[in-house]
C-alpha cells in the first residue's frame, strides 16, 4: 500500500514537472534567494575590499536571478512549448542566456559606477532612489514598457536558427524587462540589498506582471512609504 502510494506520488510529480518545463528556472530563483539571505547574514552591505567589484557583480547576478526570473516564467513556458520536446530545456537555457545579457550590462555599469564613486551604494541614496522609482511606476513609459514584456517572436524549430532565436527572444524580453524594472533594481542596489526592500520590490514586480489590474498608484505609494522610512533612519 505504502509503495503504491509512493509510486503514485512520483507519477504525479513527474507529470507536474512535464507540464511545467519552467520548474528548474524557478528552482534557480529560489536558490538565488537563499544565497542572498545567507550572504546578508554573513556580510551585510557592499564589500569594500580589493575584490569588491567581483563580489558586487556576483550580488547583482544573484539579485537578477532571484527577482527577475520569476517575472518571465510565461516567456520561458512559451519558449519550451514552442520547441521540439527533446530540446525544451536547451531552448530555456539559451533563452535565459539571452535574458540575462541586458541585465548583466546594466549590472556592470552599476557596479563599475559604485567602484569609481565611493559611497554610491550607501543608505543615503535609498530614499531618493525610492522616490524616483515611485515616479517611474506611475509614468506612461513604465506602463508601455511593462506591456512590451509580453511580446513573443517566432522560434525556428531546429539547428543553429533555433539557438539563435531562443537567445534573441531572451534578449528581447531582457531588454524590455530592464526598460520596465530598472528603477526597482536600482533601489535594491542602492539600499545594499536589504531583504525587506528586496521582498517589497519583488512583490511589486511580480504583482504588476501577473495581476493585470494592479493599480500602479498603489505600488508608488508603497515605494513612497519605504522612502519615508529610509529618510527617517538616514538622519
Amino acid at each position: 500500500m505504502i509503495l503504491g502510494a509512493r509510486i503514485q506520488r512520483v507519477a504525479v510529480m513527474r507529470e507536474l514537472l512535464r507540464c511545467h518545463p519552467e520548474w528548474w528556472t524557478l528552482a534557480l530563483s529560489i536558490a538565488a534567494w537563499c544565497t542572498l539571505v545567507s550572504r546578508r547574514e554573513t556580510a551585510p552591505g557592499h564589500a569594500r575590499e580589493a575584490w569588491a567589484l567581483v563580489d558586487d557583480t556576483l550580488a547583482w547576478i544573484l539579485m537578477v536571478v532571484a527577482m527577475m526570473v520569476p517575472l518571465v516564467l510565461g516567456a520561458i513556458r512559451t519558449t519550451a512549448n514552442r520547441s521540439l520536446w527533446r530540446r525544451r530545456n536547451r531552448a530555456i537555457a539559451w533563452f535565459l542566456a539571452g535574458y540575462l545579457a541586458p541585465w548583466m550590462i546594466m549590472g556592470l555599469a552599476v557596479t563599475a559606477a559604485a567602484a569609481v564613486g565611493p559611497g554610491l551604494s550607501v543608505g543615503h541614496l535609498g530614499a531618493p532612489a525610492l522616490v524616483i522609482a515611485a515616479g517611474w511606476q506611475v509614468s506612461q513609459r513604465k506602463k508601455q514598457a511593462l506591456l512590451r514584456c509580453h511580446q513573443t517572436i517566432p522560434l525556428a524549430p531546429r539547428g543553429l536558427r533555433a539557438i539563435r532565436d531562443s537567445i534573441r527572444f531572451g534578449g528581447l524580453i531582457g531588454t524590455r524587462c530592464v526598460a520596465s524594472c530598472w528603477a526597482l533594481m536600482l533601489v535594491c542596489w542602492l539600499t545594499s540589498h536589504q531583504l525587506m526592500v528586496l521582498g517589497v520590490t519583488a512583490g511589486i514586480a511580480i504583482g504588476e506582471r501577473y495581476l493585470v489590474r494592479l493599480d500602479p498608484r498603489l505600488t508608488a505609494l508603497v515605494l513612497l512609504g519605504l522612502a519615508t522610512g529610509f529618510a527617517a533612519t538616514a538622519h
Binding site: R86, Q140, T152, P154, A156
Partner: protein, 265 residues
Amino acid sequence: MAVNGWMGSFNTAALDPIFWLHHANIDRLWTVWRRRKAGHLDPTEAGWLTNLSFEFHDATGQEVSFTSSQVVDTTVPLLSYRYEDEGDPLGAGLEVIVERTRQMDQLPEMVGATDKPVVLKGRAETVELAVSQPTGPALAALESGGPPPPMYLNLENVTGAGRATSYGVYLNLPPGSDPKNHEDLLAGVVPMFGVKEASREDQGHPGSGLHYALEISPVVRRLEAKNAWNPGEIRITFVPRHLRGDGLEAAGDPIQVGRVSLYLG
C-alpha cells in the same frame, strides 16, 4: 468565417449592417451564458466597469461618453430592453462539450514548424513543414493504444501594417489545382481582423500579432482515407478568399505569418 470589406477593420466594421447583427447576437449569448449557471458571473473590477469610457454620438449628433457599467445590464436604463430569445442554444449538448474540454487537457507537443516567416501578398502561397517523430506526451498517447491525439496547425505571430484579406488554409493541396475543387482539404479560414492593431506596439498591445490554431484532424482523416497522407511531409497552402477580377490576386496589404507549426495533443 471570412471577413473582408468594411468588416475587415476595427475602424470601419460598424459601417456594415452585419456588424450590428453579429454583435447583438454576441451580447445575447453573453446573457444566455450568465443565465446558464449560478457561478457564471461578470468580473466586478473597476478596470473594465468604470475605468474606461467610450465615445459615441447620440441621435442628435452630440458626443456622449459611456462606461461598461452603464450598459452591461440591458434591462435597466440606459438600454431598457430584454432579448426575445434567451434560451440556451446548447441545451442538452452542453455535457458533450464539457467532456471534450476534459479530453483536451492532454499536454500538446510541437512536432514541426517552419524556420522562416511566410509572407502573403494576396496570392496563393505554399510552405512545407518538416515534421519530427514525437518524443514526449504525443508519443505516449500514440503508444497507449487509445485514439490518436488531435492535430493542430498553429499560425503564430501573424503581423501586417494595413488592411488584409482573409486566407483559406489548405492541407496538402495538389500543386496547380484549383482550391475550389478541394474544399475537403480546407483546414480553416483566418480572417486577419485586427491584424494591424495587434502588430503595433502601443498602450493596448505588445505587438506580437495575431495567433490562430486550426484543428486539422478531420482533414488528415480524409487524406488518410485517400492514401494521400505522409506525416513526415506536410504542405500548407494559403489562398486568399476574395480575389480581384483577374481571379489571381486579392486586394490588401501584405501579411507575415511568423511561424506555422504543428502540434499533437
